[in-house]
Amino acid sequence: VPIAVVGAGPSAVYATQELLRKTAESIDIFERLPTPFGLLRYGVAPDHPAIKSLVGPFVQVLSDERVQFVGNVEVGRDVSVTELRAIYSAVIFATGAPESRRLGLPGETLSGSMSAAEFVGWYNGHPEAPLVPGGSTAAAVIGLGNVALDVARILARPARDLAQTDVPEHVLSALRCSRIRDVHIVGRAGFEGVKFTAKELREIGSIEDLDVVVHGDIPSESAISLRAAPPNLVRSLDILRSWSGRPRTGAPRAIHVHVGMEPVDIVGDEQVVRVRFRANGRGSGGSSRLELAAGLVVSCLGYRSAPIMELPFDRATGVVPNVRGRIVRGGAASPTEFVVGWAKRGATGVIGSNRADAIETVAELLARQPPVDRPTRPMDIIMHLLDDRSARSVSWAGWQGIQAVEARLGASVGRPTAKIADRHALLLAAGCPSCTGAGDPRGPDEGGRQ
């Protein structure tokens, strides 16, 4: 009896891989966007090609003949959770953590103030990402983790470094025209509270035409060893210390690191013009105030899950309540509903962390599978429902069409591939008969929706 997976990001792919290994079932994957792979496509930075290369193994999993990809279909809108439960023997939710934690500051809604998800979505060509206003010579990136490093790096590194990546053309143009000279990474924690991974921190020191300026006094090696700091923190502080007090080289751009700074407000009429911070005592040796004439502010404070209609949600922890991946409804573990990935454990860890997580959820699913009476060809029913609702789904062949169009688009400007960010254009590409070979009988304008 088929199993439904909601979402097509890394944890969905690992759950699917594990189901392929451990069962003979077929697996239907429902994805809100026209494209698969979630944060691998829309989160991982384009200048991290080794991680992006995981697309290869992910394609292998989803092109298995027992797997059906149904893109551009949102569970909770186009199909309900109740319907999925009635049609499938089990449903695994791999819906991730799409919302960003915000500062809750005055001015946070001005144009030029963005969340990490919005900015990361922008440079990765997410169809729902807003545009990034240009023109500014400085940017503030709030947060002391790897996402803050990603954002700062993309803003500060020479645009030529991204020419051979898959970023959309409009992103490459915007970065080529960027007037940014200074990118300030600013955090509330002190140096002992930085969350950067040493490897990613080291990376910003190796970028051409870029200086790194560390503000404030970094605790000495001996002070840190007394506090039994974790090895990664010791390494990160060693790296920051090696940059501390280095003279500027005359490079056209700089990334600044400031710690112990509390954001006070974001100032501007419609557009951000200034961001103000005040020292909170957790840093030392820096100034008591920091005022940045920045037209762009990106808050990178972590992600959280969003409640899904008809599913329980724990607002305090920001996850779907579960025991080893089995969803808990009204105090009782559901026999047929499961959760995996960030929606299960919160927004922590890297792509590989989802593998062990998916193995746990699938083991739980297989341990006690109640006998259920379900239709053997659920996709027929689903397609019927989608037709009735004039929802246009994107099949695996449609996704291959998108990839083909993106490759052509890239080739036309001398790049290996260039992402399509516009949702309508993605749907056109998914239905392009000369790209998919088969074609879609319906054009995106008939029976399509915005």
Partner: protein, 120 residues
């Protein structure tokens, strides 16, 4: 029942870029913990008999393995402690000698690197 393993070998290993790799070091010997294996998205952690080894040509340097190791045996090559520098070669040589390549699923285990086998 048709149960076929889905292979996880990247079509273009390491995205065509030069990387350093993660390296498994001495604390792994006889620890018998294999948590790292389930975390690796490219299945590049291979079992010897007394420890596991990372194939440096397949590692994409994602870092998923490092924090789950209960004995802190895994390091980025860049961060290897001085006394463990030779483990970069030990990992690579084990993989070359045992045919530990193409994904750990289906790998039957290899004989430990001589330096590891000789560890008391």
């Amino acid at each position: 029942m048709d149960i076929r393993p889905a292979a996880m070998t990247p079509a273009q290993p390491r995205g065509g870029v030069e990387l350093v790799a993660y390296v498994v070091t001495a604390p792994c010997i006889d620890s018998n913990d294999r948590s790292c294996i389930d975390q690796c998205p490219v299945d590049c952690i291979y079992q010897g008999s007394r420890m596991v080894y990372i194939n440096p040509d397949e590692c994409i340097e994602c870092g998923a393995c490092e924090p789950v190791c209960p004995v802190d045996a895994i390091f980025n090559e860049f961060d290897l402690p001085a006394q463990a520098h030779h483990y970069a070669e030990i990992n690579a040589e084990f993989c070359a000698a045992s045919g530990a390549t193409g994904g750990a699923i289906g790998f039957r285990g290899g004989s430990d690197h001589p330096a590891v086998a000789a560890t008391p």
